[in-house]
């Protein structure tokens, strides 16, 4: 027979101002199994907690119900609290009478009190069925794997490695660096993006604790928090480790005029190439789809000239297994393909309509134009440049509903650069809102405004050519009139979207994405760098659009979490996971299909029946992988699966308490 204590919290006036707390406490005392019922101003405070501890001892309580705020806030506090009094911490049940009662029923106190009593009755019913649960221990491999070698991945790698842990970076491009090395100056300080990111790339490459795979992808992830086994596919580079990066091969390669992806096709590269001079590693790859040796079967020029015999046409893809304790996903973003969506801007037909990233390459001193801002169509310097913000962002009708966050600032920076580099130039910026929330951001915007950028509030409805110029038609919604600008060049601030292939990464690693395809954090405010899968963390724009400062901050945050995890040689496993009643399991494995964490595996068992032995298959739960979501318990037809702490029996007793 359980001896249950009920503790009702006022939470100051948060609950007590609406719910008649003493009345709830009086009612609770009458519930079956309740031997003690009390109320207090702040149950989570020191005296409140002491009150629970002494009541447990004095009344020999076997289970505790705390009616207060959401368990998300204080369940752990009270679990620790009752453990101090010698109870199993899982003998606690909470009734949320704040978020789910007093806050939402502020104007109907009587009904709120009645509801609070119902919620407490439910909690007491469940408390009567609770069983002690025990945490397991899981060993931790002190090594982290980072998917994506952009600024987020590099920053996190350095932080984790500096703390003394081994780190593996997987980057699918031939070099690390990501999008940040493409950029010119960065707002609001106007420091050179490459100048601040390439030293970090070099530090990562030289760090004794960091191992970098470039031109590689994650093929398979198995295991669970502390014990992941990751198969890395090293794509064939056709250049082996003897390479010194001397550059003879790409100087001699006869296959020219391949649009260089790094310059968004605005410059040309060879078939054997490094993406840019500061690439890390400084080791080329052969583009097998273009290389004559591969396409026509004859050439061999690079092999002939290579002084270190590093060219290997026979090289195949290699698969390497890395065992790690934590995974950080930092796969970044891509820009939306506006040319497929925005017919009113010409579907990409007009060469002088470019994206902000093209502009970055162009204005970059090491870019394809050597830092000159010119029209792609004729190489002339534009005099009037129109910027269109929110192309694909904040457009629920045609593209994405969300704000891409970085565009207001980089457009202000672009406007500043046009006005600075082209004397007598005119800049018109079409915007919906100017959003400059960030340290020194508003100041930067105002500076651009004072330099003469014309900010026009409204969307652009159409861009079309007239002669060799572009007519930009839009609205000035502040004046309430249509406007038209004759422009030499138009720069579109296109929406950030999850990087191509990120859905595959989420599937391979095993965590969820949000409605826009960005990676889902465990909690938007309180657990922003974790996923719902234990041991898998997030950083950068793969979790949502972000600028560089936020990306780096999040990367260091994720690194801190990973360092925390790797600092333990073993960790406690959550006991609230699924359990199979093998006697009832029919072996249908419907649970295996539905499990989002791949935590269910088939297992053969031998059963003794009268006169014979039977071997049959049943489901088995991997306690490291199971996150306790409960999906399997619903899918289980014979009812063999139960979630510890939320068993069918416990849930039904709650339903009975509320409905009967």
């Amino acid at each position: 027979m359980q001896r249950i204590g009920v503790f009702i919290c006022w939470c100051g006036s948060n609950i007590g101002g609406v719910v008649d707390v003493p009345a709830v406490a009086r009612e609770a005392a009458k519930f079956h199994g309740v031997v003690y019922s009390a109320e207090y101003k702040y149950m989570c405070s020191e005296p409140g907690q002491e009150m629970i501890v002494s009541a447990i001892k004095e009344h020999r309580l076997t289970g505790v119900v705390v009616a207060s705020c959401s368990p998300a806030l204080h369940e752990i506090t009270f679990r620790k609290n009752i453990a101090r009094a010698g109870l199993n911490p899982y003998m606690l049940e909470m009734a949320n009478i704040r978020e789910q009662c007093s806050w939402v029923h502020q104007h109907e106190p009587e009904k709120a009190t009645k509801k609070a009593i119902d919620l407490v009755r439910r909690a007491v019913a469940k408390a009567g069925k609770l069983e002690p649960l025990f945490e397991s221990t899981i060993p931790v491999t002190k090594k982290a794997l980072i998917i994506g070698g952009g600024i987020a991945g590099i920053q996190a790698a350095l932080d984790i490695a500096d703390a003394g842990n081994e780190v593996v970076i997987i980057e699918r491009e031939p070099t690390i660096g990501g999008k940040m090395v493409l950029l010119d100056k960065t707002f609001p300080t106007l420091d050179c993006s490459a100048c601040i990111s390439t030293p970090k790339m070099v530090s990562a490459a030289q760090h004794p604790n960091i191992k970098i795979y470039t031109y590689a992808e994650v093929e398979e992830v198995k295991g669970y928090i502390g014990n992941f086994s990751v198969v890395v596919k090293q794509k064939a580079r056709s250049v082996n480790s003897k390479c010194t990066g001397c550059g003879t091969c790409w100087a001699k390669c006869p296959t020219k005029n391949i649009p260089n992806e790094f310059d968004l096709g605005m410059s040309m590269r060879k078939a054997i190439y490094i993406p840019f001079p500061q690439a890390v590693p400084n080791r080329p790859v052969i583009d097998r789809e273009r290389c004559r040796q591969f396409v026509k079967g004859k050439c061999g020029v690079c092999k002939k000239f290579c002084p270190t015999d590093a060219i290997d046409y026979e090289q195949g893809d290699e698969f390497v297994t890395e065992n790690v304790g934590a995974i950080l996903v930092a796969t970044g973003y891509d820009l939306i393909d506006w040319a497929k969506i925005y017919g009113e801007y010409g579907y990409g037909k007009y060469p002088d309509v470019i994206t902000g990233l093209h502009f970055e390459r162009m204005v970059n001193a090491s870019g394809p134009t050597g830092g000159k801002i010119v029209r792609p169509s004729d190489g002339e310097q534009p005099k009037t440049v129109v910027f269109v913000k929110c192309v694909g962002s904040r457009d629920e009708a045609k593209a994405r509903e969300y704000c891409s966050r970085a565009c207001c600032m980089y457009t202000a920076k672009h406007a500043h650069q046009v006005l600075e580099k082209i004397p007598g130039s005119q800049v018109v910026i079409f915007y919906i809102d100017v959003r400059c929330a960030g340290k020194a951001y508003e100041e930067f915007y105002l500076k651009t405004l004072h330099e003469g950028a014309i900010y026009t509030r409204g969307r652009v409805s159409k861009i079309y050519p007239e002669g060799n110029r572009l007519i930009v038609k839009g609205a000035d919604t502040l004046l309430g009139r249509p406007v038209e600008v004759v422009a030499d060049m138009v720069v579109l601030a296109t929406a950030m979207i999850p990087a191509e292939g990120s859905a595959d990464v989420a599937r391979t690693v095993g965590f969820t994405v949000d409605k826009d395809g960005f990676f889902q954090e465990a909690h938007p405010k309180l657990r922003p760098v974790e996923t719902n899968t234990g041991g898998v963390f997030l950083a950068g724009a793969c979790q949502g659009p972000k600028d560089i400062p936020d990306t780096v901050a999040q990367a260091s945050g994720a690194a801190a979490k990973i360092i925390g995890l790797l600092s333990h040689s073993e960790i406690a496993g959550e006991p609230t996971i699924a359990r199979v009643n093998e006697a009832m399991c029919s072996g249908c494995l419907a649970c295996r299909e539905i499990c989002p964490y791949r935590a269910i595996e088939p297992k053969e068992i031998v059963e003794r029946l009268p006169g014979k032995q039977v071997t049959r298959v049943v489901a088995s739960v991997n306690s490291g992988l199971c996150q306790g979501c409960g999906a399997c318990t619903v899918a289980c037809r014979p009812g063999a699966l139960n979630l510890k702490g939320f068993t069918n029996e416990q849930l039904l007793s709650e339903v009975d308490a509320l409905c009967l």
């Binding site: 579907y347 079309y464 007239e466």
Partner: protein, 286 residues
Amino acid sequence: MKVAYYPGCSYETSGKDYETSAKFVCNKLGIDLIEIPDWSCCGSTAAHSTDHLLAVSLAARNLALVEKMGFDTVTASCSACYQRLALAQTELAQDKKLLEQVNEITGYDYKAAVKVNSILEIIACVDEESIKAKFTRSMENFRIAPYYGCLLVRPAKIKIDDPENPTIMDRVLQTTGARVVDWSHKTECCGASLSVSNNDIVTALVSRIIKAANVADANCIVTACALCHLNLDYYQSFVTQTKGALKEMPVFYFPQILGLAMGFSKKDMGVEYNITDTSELVKKVV
């Protein structure tokens, strides 16, 4: 193929040449257009800009008549008629309450199962080889700027093609051997019914469209809408008066081009109804 046909109010007036040429062409292609008996107003501008329920009910009455005829598809040549009928159909099919309300007004028990296609879609459905087999003249001297206007491609829930760069008419016209130019003003506003109340605006808008067609090296514009045709054709002279010299550009309906290619006479195709001179261009084929 038999299709119910909604003529609309412009069919014996400003859009007579559209209607006539469309009927000739459809006949040649084996498409029987059966006029809806006792058809009434489609609910265009005067209705839909003032009262939504009135506009839907006016269109619904005609749709109900189509259902009564035992037809499952109705077509209209005029873009406004097509758009009103199509939009009403979409709304009625999605909103049961509205359908009940409208049926009470019209007195018919409409089931909202009629498909509404523009005449352009009907003709575009005929396979390319069958259309080509009917051609006797090559239209290679025609450099056409296809003009879609606004009603064929908007709003999004009934659009027949990409609203920013439609190509359905381009494809039909290309079968004749004519050169169809890619240009920037395919779907720009012609001013529509502002020609009744504010023709300065129409003149300004028409001037840009004609200019853009000239820039694209077209020698004619082809439309699928009676009102577009009227504005583009009639207002060219005003453009010259108020905005200076303009290279005049004949404006055709798309069935007129198909009909000429099929060997129909100028008279059958009604090309002499045009205000802007078409004779120079038509002379090249007839």
